[in-house]
Assembly symmetry: C2
Homo-oligomer: 202 residues x 2
DNA sequence: ACCTGAACACCGTTCAAGT
DNA sequence: ACCTGAACACCGTTCAAGT
């Protein structure tokens, strides 16, 4: 059992986050508890409350890490893709692959619900916003002088859509199987939506 | 405290489901517990286990009721709409309105995750399948002789997409506000996707 | 000063015992 | 036969007390 001053506040915090992530990766959100995290790092549960506000705070920190990794993956793709359409399709692929390769951490972002009335903190919303910014940027060359409002809307439609397909697929609620099918559905969504978005009918 | 033979098994079951739904509507999924349901109907918690397999079973029954109401709303719309495109747009509206008017029950369908390895029962999957069938039927007049496989795929893309927009909107993760915006996004998704789906580019 | 460990108010689930 | 109530193994959170 760890004793006083074995680790700094910051060290305990990092150890706890690492241990918690390991639990989530292996057992999913349901398997996570403050007591298990404490046990894994050799401290008692009370110690966690010196370092985190509460369990929601700890979860939010892990989700922030996950969002950062997803953002990095998207930003990388963005740099390599050729035209807007290719970028959009690649962004969709990156998202689906991310969710498929790390389903437990990805799911936790959406399974975790804040208590009634509580809002996501500003620094966290910022992480979501910058992902939409990437999608909007990829859309720009396809928007042909449309107002920014419409580009922002299209980004949210496509991203919400990709996300929804991914959710239903992971929850096995689409009557389909396999990642390839999910990739197919996502590509279909993006392709056909862009056809309408960039096409003559406006 | 209720005593023996005050109610039949079936009556206790109905009372429990009604009480549980009331809790969910008022407090959301998080507020639901076997002990609270038992208390609300004047029985001890042990009694619930004579009538339900476990708490997951009870939740699944409530979700089934919710799916039935959603299905009824969709089937009604289907009967009144004129052409395929109108039907699709109306189905989207019905879905968003349903989620908006009954967010706690709607959310519970997706917040509830089965234990690792457990599958949704066949009778439940059937309820999901028949909703997709409505969407596929509305798509038919727009599919112009395409193989059923493609129609099924398009139905899943659109429905997954509408769902995803709805999820992100309810979780306040889109940086938008209000039901009207969500309706706008949904209509944009359906319109533009259909433009690509029915358009020349295929 | 730092952390523990016990307490409090909750969970889901089971099952011997009471009526 | 039907239901209880207590037990078991868990939760998140707090805080007086120990080192």
């Amino acid at each position: 059992m760890a004793r006083r001053s074995d680790h700094s506040r910051e060290e305990i915090r990092e150890m706890a986050l690492d241990a918690a992530e390991k639990i989530v990766v292996e057992k999913g959100f349901e398997g996570l508890s403050a007591r298990k995290v404490a046990k894994a790092i050799g401290y008692t549960v009370g110690t966690l409350y010196l370092v985190f506000e509460n369990i929601d705070d700890l979860i939010l920190q892990i989700n922030a890490r996950t969002l950062d990794r997803l953002y990095a993956g998207m930003a990388e793709t963005q740099a390599t893709a050729r035209n807007g359409r290719q970028r959009m399709l690649q962004l969709g692929q990156v998202y689906i692959r991310f969710a498929d390769q790390d389903p437990h951490r990805w799911s936790m972002i959406f399974e975790h619900r804040l208590a009634e009335g509580r809002e996501l903190p500003e620094w966290y919303r910022e992480k979501i916003a910058r992902m939409f910014a990437i999608v909007e940027e990829a859309l720009m060359p396809l928007a042909a002088g449309r107002p920014g409002r419409e580009v922002a809307q299209a980004a949210r439609v496509i991203w919400g859509g990709v996300h929804g397909i991914c959710i239903l697929a992971v929850g096995n609620r689409l009557g389909i199987a396999g990642v390839d099918s999910v990739q197919d559905l996502t590509q279909s969504l993006i392709s056909n939506y862009l056809a309408g978005f960039t096409g003559p009918a406006g």
